[in-house]
């Protein structure tokens, strides 16, 4: 039955001849975008595990899926959130162009004053009639300069404690009140942007969830971000593989001391890989484990140590850099470019997507059950909280 639907789609829309956008549109309409979504919204109301099957068949037929590297926020975070919490109108309006990648999405969450403390968002949204007006500044937004839409968390009430005064919106990035500036990083590149919002208007119809429910909605979305972790990786995937290959090819960089250092990190990377593989097996049988947060700690530590070691092993090369010119790359490849870039870029691994400090808190409190930090802002109206 499902197989039949796929065959029909492939027969009527030959991937070799129709454009990707057209094919994806047809795939969406056939309910083969996310088969666990309801009919009419890109799905067929089937159990989630059938998705993998469809992906496999599509791959076999050489049929395209949406490019995750171009619309990661849209596909990974926005679609499940809109499906779970959005209105029928939102689902009808946004899911299809999101899936076909005609509309790229970005995320307006972090702010200069709300990094680790994400709920401290100060960008404010004020309702007048059925239109919200938004003013504030967001930061660390990737892809903002070619995004058509954004998800936004803004403060709609300063009289209540910080988590209670947030609301979640869908924003048109072509609003004239939006200014996107590249945010240049330590590497010389600008992978990310700062986004300034000055009198940006949002119809109330583009609010997701109730006013004041923004934290809950945003958390739903963030949880979806974790799905990627736990997929099994090959041995020597990642930085260790790059370094091991260099070692094998270049006898001049070898030394006894470096050998033991290299083997130390090789083993660290391997045990993290094994841990990820086990987590994948657990997920497969429906027993998710709490290892994910801790594994992200390991990935960051290893990326930073291994790239640092790689620089030391070949000083004549490590003293140089490939290119400091300011670029705005379309996607991030941690393993791309030269060793100096990889070293600098890896510094972000312990900050982005939950800093290592925050993750250690999470592991200590949620996994080990140790007492939480005292919250000085608990129960205090946002306007009275020290910032």
């Amino acid at each position: 039955m499902l197989r039949q639907r796929v065959d029909e789609l492939l027969a009527t829309h030959d991937p070799a001849t129709v454009s990707t956008t057209e094919f994806l549109g047809a795939r969406f309409d056939a309910g083969l975008a996310w088969v666990h979504f309801p009919e009419g919204h890109g799905g067929l109301g089937l159990p989630q595990e059938y998705n993998d099957l469809v992906e496999t068949w599509m791959d076999e037929a050489g049929a395209p899926g949406p490019e995750r590297s171009r619309n990661g926020i849209g596909l990974g975070m926005v679609a499940p959130t809109i499906m779970a919490i959005g209105t029928k109108e939102q689902q009808e309006k946004y899911l299809r162009p999101l899936y076909t990648c005609e509309e790229i999405w970005c995320q307006l969450f972090s702010e200069p004053g709300a990094g680790s403390d994400l709920a401290a968002v100060a960008t404010k949204a004020v309702l007048s009639g059925d239109t919200w007006t938004v003013d504030g500044q967001k930061v660390w937004t990737s892809g903002a300069h070619h995004a058509k839409r954004a998800i936004l968390v803004a403060r709609t009430d300063i009289e209540v404690p910080k988590h209670a005064g947030l609301t979640y919106f869908l924003v048109d990035m072509e609003d004239p009140g939006i200014e996107v500036r590249p945010l240049r990083q330590i590497t010389g590149e600008a992978e990310f942007n700062e986004v300034f919002l000055n009198g940006v208007t949002i119809p109330d119809a583009d609010r997701v969830g109730e006013t004041g429910e923004g934290w809950r909605v945003a958390t739903t979305t963030l949880n979806n971000e974790r799905v990627a972790i736990g997929s099994g990786a090959d041995r020597e995937a990642g930085h260790i593989g790059v370094l091991a290959e260099k070692w094998r090819k270049n006898p001049a960089i070898r030394s006894e001391a470096a050998y033991h250092e290299l083997m130390h990190w090789w083993i660290e990377a391997e045990v993290t890989r094994l841990t990820g593989e086990r987590l994948r097996q657990q997920l497969e049988v429906g027993q998710p484990g709490p290892e994910g947060s801790a594994m992200k700690l390991a990935f960051a530590t290893q990326a930073q140590a291994i790239t640092g070691l790689a620089i030391e092993l070949d000083p004549d090369h490590g003293l140089l850099y490939d290119d400091w010119t300011m670029h705005r790359p379309d996607s991030t490849d941690f393993l791309g470019r030269d060793v100096g870039f990889r070293y600098l870029r890896a510094k972000g691994n312990s900050l982005e997507g939950g800093s290592s400090e925050i993750l250690r808190n999470v592991v200590a409190e949620r996994v080990l059950g140790l007492p939480a930090e005292q919250r000085l802002d608990k129960g205090i109206p946002f306007k009275d909280v020290p910032r």
């Binding site: 083993i267 801790a294 390991a298 250690r360 808190n361 592991v363 007492p371 930090e373």
Partner: protein, 355 residues
């Protein structure tokens, strides 16, 4: 990739072994071994062998065993590590048994599988797969684990006649107990004596090597069990120890250290499980899996025990608290069957990384 999860049968096995350890061992009597050495705690061993029959896990049914395998034995060792149990499971039921299995020996294997007799491979306890030498000359071999209290000794010897694996009854030679850093797995000096020749030449070599490989692969599970127990005990302690009017486990620096330790212990579990699985599957990656597991789990166990001592504060330094038993077992096990440094050394060429 091979399955890294525990089966329901293994979960049940774990429950049984844990129950037996809890019934028959208590930290105070285990500590007593340091003052009054004895080869092992007989009630716990009796329960493992007579009641649960786990000494025969590696042995096929037609040889008098249970016909399970390394995955199941690893679960038993996790629980033994958890309890710092003073029983000769690793030395007799894993290493010596594996040596005899490799040889297709039939006379003694059934009584080993039943736990009626115990045996020890007579090599220095730090010997590791691929790097060991048979006894030569007349000096006693030391320090040997599992020999104190063993009935049978498997002694690799080299003389003018070549390389032999001899089986010597303990009654026919001298086993001198040594004051050991870890008295829960006491060491001894074993005097050479001639006995029955079990095998010679390459066949004997392969048998010894198989015993050491099984030992190194499964020691990792014992180390993991020990490390995990240290983590759990310490988390429990810092939740309840009050200083400055709050549980010390509410101090962020302690929380973060325990989060890091959780990561290490979790990863040690995966590494140990992979080594057990690779041994069970006779996987081509077996040697890699063993070196990775030994290099990693040895250090994690020591680190977990050291953190346990420190975070138990003064109590961790006392003879009365059982924490010291874990530290001593962990540190000795780090040396057993090859130090992490040696395993890192061995691993490189296996994955095409050399100097």
């Amino acid at each position: 990739m091979t399955n890294l999860l525990y089966t329901d049968i293994e979960d049940a096995l774990r429950e049984s072994v844990r129950g037996a350890m809890e019934r028959h061992l208590d930290p105070h009597s285990t500590t007593g071994i340091y003052d009054e050495p004895k080869p092992w705690e007989s009630k716990a061993w009796q329960s493992l062998t007579e009641e649960l029959g786990v000494a025969g896990l590696l042995v096929p049914e037609d040889s008098g065993g249970v016909g399970a395998g390394p995955r199941e034995a690893a679960v038993v060792l996790e629980e033994i590590g958890r309890a710092v149990a003073p029983v000769p499971y690793l030395t007799s039921s894993v290493i010596a048994t594996q040596v005899l299995l490799q040889l297709g020996e039939s006379e003694h294997i059934a009584s080993l599988a039943a736990g009626e007799t115990t045996a020890a491979l007579v090599l220095p306890w730090a010997a590791r797969p691929g790097h060991w030498s048979p006894a030569q000359g007349t000096d006693p071999v030391k320090p040997v684990a599992g020999a104190v209290g063993a009935d049978l000794l498997l002694i690799p010897v080299a003389d003018a006649g070549g390389f032999q694996l001899q089986l010597v009854k303990a009654a026919d030679t001298t086993v001198d107990p040594l004051v050991s850093f870890d008295m829960t797995r006491p060491l001894a000096a074993v005097t050479l004596a001639s006995g029955e020749v079990l095998a010679t030449g390459e066949e004997a070599q392969r048998a010894v090597e198989a015993g050491l490989q099984a030992g190194a692969a499964l020691l990792a599970s014992e180390q993991y069990g020990l490390a995990r127990s240290c983590l759990e005990t310490t988390v429990d302690y810092v939740k309840n120890r009050i200083q400055f009017a709050r549980p010390i486990g509410s101090f962020q620096a302690i929380k973060h250290r325990l989060a890091d330790l959780y990561l290490e212990v979790t990863q040690a579990g995966a590494a140990a499980r992979y080594a057990a699985a690779a041994l069970a599957d006779d996987d081509p990656d077996k040697a890699v899996a063993i070196s990775v597991a030994q290099a990693y789990c040895s250090d994690v166990a020591v680190h977990a025990a050291e953190e346990a001592v420190q975070l138990h504060g003064g109590n961790g330094m006392t003879w009365e608290y059982p924490v010291h038993l874990y530290l001593k077992r962990a540190k000795s096990s780090q040396l057993a069957l090859g130090t992490p440094e040696k395993h890192r050394q061995d691993l490189g060429p296996l994955v095409n990384i050399t100097t």
